[in-house]
Amino acid sequence: MALLERTLASRELHDPGFIRRIFADTRMAPLWAVARLYLGYQWLLAGWHKMWGSERWINLPGEDGLGLKGYWERAVSFPEKGSPPIKYDWYRDFLQYMLDHEAYHWFSWLIAFGEVLAGVALIVGAFTGLAALAGATMNFNFMLAGSASTNPVLFILAILIVFGWKVAGWMGVDRWLLPALGTPWEPGGLVRPMRGGAGPGQPPRPRPT
């Protein structure tokens, strides 16, 4: 019992200086801006092809989402030789469920718009952490469906940007958005007065200890 208490006792393990330098120091903002721009450009390009490209998924004269339907059908299939694209049965079941319910009609819009929005948000640095997280989620799903392509590299980059969310958008709209809106644990200048806290120009309320 004492061992359990000692193991689960509250301790705060501090990050080393270089980790804080990389993920929380505004001097690293230019580096994060380059990473953010590269990732955003890739997403915008991918979304653009799905929306307006010659092999687009949506915005077609006929049914929408047939491109996605073909992609899902290839992903859930079992080839005569070699291993299937999807390794996890639960993910194959999920895609099969989506196919059976013809979800590709609306899901293709969700993916195309999601990619364009994530790309633009990363480029302008607005809600950078959330945009990178959305991108990482899409990368993760593409990889689960058996598509390697650029997804592993973009996924790693997105995860790094999620870790560096505080400074990744410093050279961007987040420079204003984060102080204005704040976070769930630290309301910003616009939200604080609405919650009955200190208004702009006034010192923030003391934190509970």
Binding site: L37, Y38, Y41, W48, K166, T183, G201
Partner: protein
Amino acid sequence: MKLALLGAGVLAWLGVAIIAVLVVNAWSDGNLVWPFFPIAAAVVVAWLIGEWVTERVFLSGNSEEVRHGSA
């Protein structure tokens, strides 16, 4: 005056979004390197405008810099 400055900053970043979309539309044939540069240039210009606006709108008084996630 501050509202106008803030509007200029917002417009600068809106311009980046528009330029990014136009550039991708113009050069979407392949995954090229060149489209990256006009977008990056637009971001740098918008950032400089943003910093200029920040200095005049947010840091002119005794405003504090909010550091989210700080200890």
